[in-house]
Amino acid sequence: MYEVRWHGRGGQGVVTSSELLALAALREGKHVYHAPEFGPERRGAPVRAYTRISTHPIELHSSIYTPDAVVVIDPSLQSEVQSVTHGLREGGLLVVNASTPHEGIVEAAKKLKAGLWFVDAYSIAMEVFGRPFYNTPMLGAFVKASGLVSINTVLDVVAERFGKESKLAESNVQAVRKAYETVRRL
């Protein structure tokens, strides 16, 4: 079983990233559980989402406390090192939205022997959407960093999700691909 925890802010599509990952894994024959963790938070509040992926049926319905991977969708949340790395398994994976990762994160990753990946999702989003939409680029980055699902499956799922407005589908596909291609391991 592989567990991913997503960190972002309300309105950034954190829940969508997590769900799209789950849907892609589902399509590749895996069992999945995706759940948002939110209360009445509005735009801007820190929110989390969980994705659980397994080759066996998933019965566990609790939150995720010891994730195999953490994805930080909002660059400003990098500095909340304690909160975002909490419970991350040793040798796990950290994927952050940054042109250069925050030193606290770098240090934490070292301590945990975690792979630290970073991508400049801000520039990608501004280029593709003209607005800071990070969720699909960070999904692309995670897919590359984890190798958990194939990029083609993810692109299909993303295209379908935004399919009603084909332009939106196109730009999201582009954003995923760009992030997939430019994400780097520190």
Binding site: A22, L23, L26, Y33, A35, G39, E59, L60, H61, S62
Partner: protein, 395 residues
């Protein structure tokens, strides 16, 4: 597994089932965490994917009232609610059942106020327990979908004619995406043909619905309703079996896991059943046997099946996602205790209160409950009050 594998959250899965059931009338008022259900159905209707009347009522009280009217008129009717909405409907719950409507209602289980909370408790489900509605609990998104379809079939069966509630845990299932197999429309159609209403409103056969009963007939009407309600389990079983043949997914009123030879058994409702079973598997790897019993059918309470499931245990921890103030235990505990009075051999029973208002039930919590059960067994005595798990201030 028959059908198509898709990924949906619990709310959407329920809405999709209602659409496949080709409901005629949806009467509902939004309330978190159920809202996605009615939003999805409104979308289906407005996009022409579902030929139904969507009544956007001004309150839950009216939601159920309109549903009662529509059901009496002969329509297949669906609604959904949660928590405070259920509380506002409460008066009409009794009437919907007594008038023998066949409404199917999804309930995104949520804690009752105060303090106001939008997350999962089973307060709402329990509040409906005496009202004459059939009640089912889904453990995951697949079950939420399956049970919604089966609920229509069961409720509308002429040997039943009672409304149904399909419970799914707020957020944990309503907002959680899982893979599920959905049936082909054609299969659903065959399983669930057009509703054949009994005594529908018909100007050519005028009847009086919901008259006044004084002391001379009220009790006889209740006697009849009781007898009818208590005769529904064989039909439920029959529908479970038929659906099993159709879908490849077998349902039983009581679900058991590892109970054979287990001294310790944990009993639970809803999505927590999966979490408890997960822990039970882990413990089994370490050579410890812990049984898990959960209910798919909550009302009528499956007494006989439950006695059978629990008869081998030495101690049973009955887990309630609720509190009952001043009662000898929370609601599932009281039901279970009473049911076991009819058993030849009774295990030690104690009550666990957990997960209120969405408090997560972690695998660690479950292990604590197992340890507590072992302690009860050692002492040979149950604690007088429920054991609170996962709350600050208790070990």
């Amino acid at each position: 597994m028959k059908g198509k594998l898709v990924g949906m959250n619990g709310d959407r899965a329920v809405a999709f089932a209602a659409k496949q059931a080709d409901v005629d009338v949806i009467s509902a008022y939004p309330i978190t965490p159920q809202t996605i259900i009615v939003e999805t159905l409104a979308e289906y209707v407005n996009n022409g994917e579902l030929n139904a009347a969507f009544i956007p009522v001004e309150s839950e009280h009216s939601a159920l009232s309109a549903a009662v009217g529509a059901s009496l008129a002969g329509a297949r009717v669906f609604t959904a609610t949660s928590s405070q909405g259920l509380a506002l409907m409460w008066e009409i719950l009794w009437i919907a059942a007594g008038l023998r409507t066949t409404i199917v209602m999804a309930m995104g289980n949520r804690a009752l106020s105060p303090n106001i909370n939008i997350h999962c408790s089973h307060d709402d489900a329990y509040a409906a327990r005496d009202t004459g509605w059939l009640q089912f609990f889904a453990e995951n998104v697949q079950e939420a979908y399956d049970l919604t379809l089966m609920a229509f079939r069961i409720s509308e069966d002429h040997r039943v004619l009672f409304p149904s509630i399909v419970n799914l845990d707020g957020f944990i299932l309503t907002h959680a995406t899982e893979g599920l197999y959905v049936l082909d429309d054609e299969d659903v159609k065959a399983f669930l043909p057009k509703k054949k209403p009994v005594n529908p409103i018909d100007p050519s056969k005028p009847m009086t619905y919901g008259p006044l009963d004084l002391f001379d007939w009220y009790m006889e009407h209740r006697r009849l309703q009781y007898a009818s309600f208590m005769s529904t389990p064989p039909v439920i079983k029959e529908v479970f079996e038929e659906y099993g043949k159709l879908s490849g997914r077998r349902y039983t009123p009581v679900k058991t896991f590892n109970v054979e030879g287990a001294e310790v058994v944990l009993m639970v409702l809803g999505s927590s059943a999966g979490t408890v079973r997960y822990v039970s598997r882990k413990l089994a790897e370490k050579g410890k046997k812990v049984g898990v019993v959960s209910l798919t059918q909550y009302r009528p309470f499956p007494v006989r099946e439950l006695i059978e499931a629990l008869s081998g245990a030495s101690v049973v921890a009955v887990m309630d996602r609720s509190v009952s103030f001043g009662s000898p235990g929370a609601q599932l505990f009281m039901d279970t205790s009473t049911a076991l009075l009819k058993a030849k051999r009774r295990p030690l029973l104690f009550n666990v209160v957990y997960g209120l208002g969405g408090r997560d039930l972690t695998p660690g919590d479950v292990e604590k409950i197992v340890m507590k059960a072992e302690e009860v067994l050692r002492r040979g005595e149950s604690p007088e009050e429920p054991v609170w798990v996962g709350v600050r201030g208790e070990e």
